[in-house]
Symmetry: C2
Subunit: 323 residues, 2 copies
């Protein structure tokens, strides 16, 4: 019949008329392709092909109505670009308001939506995470448990103890708290090993590996790193790490630009789950934002260390438009 060029169709042509008619019968009248074929004397396969063509050349337009699309678009773009299960973009912090409050709120709300009976939630460390309980407000009691994924029940990190966070979360949810009664970093690999052999601690770590959800932050290779704070690394060590390609850390474990583990001499002294463990968790949530963390987050996401990201608008945009 007519010589059908790839993507342009004469609006006056009979081919076009037919495309429009079939599209209407399918999308407006909701006939099946079979019924349309029968009515018009075409094979079902042909009707199918015409419909594909109709979508391709834009005779049929499918639009998604998303008012206030900005945050949604960012979230959606992030999930696509980094193959995430979910992404939450919170508004940039107001002047004078700390970013970690906004992030903590986003993480807390995300958690309320995803927490179900029987789940175990692992909590990492850091200033942002320590603010999560402030905003965590489940509408009803949930039969779940919260645990630590790194030692340190009795320690404090940046003024906030893991212990407190874990117990607060458990209380707010109406669930149980499970602790790791041990330091996060041991003085030697041997000491660490003997702790790990202790059944109660081994159990605690095993529970941590089997969390349904883990919330954790990531940080750059600088003085905020866990191992620096605890005095196991000095400035020179950090410098060396950076020079050799370490980009950031999560739970005291460093990783490079691609999110691959970057081993350090202290890896065997840390009492906590590894990056490999983290990758296996169904919902591993990284809660982080701020310009300095952009390359770190990017690396972590590229290495699939996390499946959910909670961040702020500005960071989201940097994650999307750079590189």
């Amino acid at each position: 019949m007519s010589l059908s060029s790839e993507s342009r169709v004469n609006t006056e042509s009979n081919e076009y008329r037919q495309i429009v008619r079939i599209a209407k019968l399918y999308y407006e009248e909701e006939l099946t392709q079979e019924q349309i074929g029968e009515q018009l004397g075409l094979s079902r396969v042909k009707v199918n092909r015409i419909l594909q063509r109709a979508r391709k050349i834009g005779v049929v337009k499918i639009t998604i109505d998303a008012p206030e699309s900005d945050p949604y678009d960012l979230e959606h773009a992030l999930t696509i670009k980094y193959k995430l299960r979910d992404a939450i973009v919170v508004p940039d912090a107001e002047e004078g308001e700390a970013l970690w409050h906004a992030l903590a709120k986003g993480a807390a709300e995300w958690l309320v939506d995803h927490l179900e009976d029987g789940m175990r939630v692992g909590l990492g460390m850091g200033r942002t995470l320590s603010h999560v309980p402030l905003y965590f407000n489940p509408p009803e009691k949930i039969n779940c448990s919260f645990c630590e994924v790194i030692g340190g029940a009795a320690e404090t990190s940046g003024g906030f103890s893991n212990y407190n966070v874990t117990s607060q979360m458990a209380e707010l949810a109406g669930g149980r708290a499970e602790y790791v009664y041990a330091p996060s970093i041991l003085s030697s690999a041997e000491a660490c090993l003997s702790f790990k052999r202790e059944p109660s601690i081994a159990d605690a770590l095993e529970r941590a590996r089997q969390c349904d959800i883990i919330l954790q932050s990531v940080g750059p290779v600088n003085k905020s790193a866990l191992l620096y704070v605890h005095g196991y690394f000095d400035e020179k060590d950090l410098e060396e790490l950076r020079e050799n390609g370490a980009v950031g850390d999560a739970l005291g474990r460093f990783f490079d630009q691609s999110g691959n583990p970057f081993p350090t001499r202290l890896d065997d002294q840390i009492l906590g789950i590894t990056l490999a463990d983290l990758k296996k968790v169904p919902w591993s949530v990284v809660v982080a934002g701020g310009s300095s963390k952009v390359p770190v987050i990017k690396a972590a996401l590229q290495g699939n260390l996390f499946s959910v990201l909670v961040t702020d608008t500005k960071t989201a945009e940097q994650l999307l438009h750079e590189g």
Copy 2:
């Protein structure tokens, strides 16, 4: 979770956020419902339900882009309202231009698009049909045949003979013509019967019944009717037919308001296919327009005598908006 009211969703809610995200993954990223469910931790069925909801509440809008939509809309509306296989709406005739030219052109073009090798096309009678050859212009030779569906190879009707029309069409298409060598109306039922028993005529009628396509017009119960023109009915007869509920005729066979056959004393004297035969033809095309024919066309379509309509804009609108 949230109490989901039937058709209104809070744009800020997490439910809405989820609907938009899933809609985007499905319609923009073209993931399958299964993949989406996997990624988001939902069952496939649930994703399916959310997508149905997205369409229902209008988050997803499917639009069909039909520039110059007027004729298309009319055609589409006609196919739906009267359950037609196709409808062609030609522009209203210009001042001084006869409607039947426009209709004949529409019918001829429709035929070009649908005529295929091996098909048989039956041609009825009437002024409009007699103009079809003028506009019939197939781009290539088609191995098909044209036949008459009512006697009258040697007669003329309104100045145009069936014979001429059939042979012209066959010639233009490069196919064969098959005639019914007999009058369209006999002087008695007995005479008609003996004609019908004649093998060559019986064959011709059988061929007519097995057409793939039949083009025919319809007319109101007035002096233009075949049986009046041939002198078998007088004005009083017409008057009586009208009073008893006859609305129009096709091929000399009358029908009522619902398109049901309205028997007359002359039915057995007509040498041609019946309305019941007409209904069995895959593509029976009625070519008719004009205010006076609106009730006739409507009746014929309601009785499913035809599956394709060729008419003009004004008539189309009347067919759609009245009754």
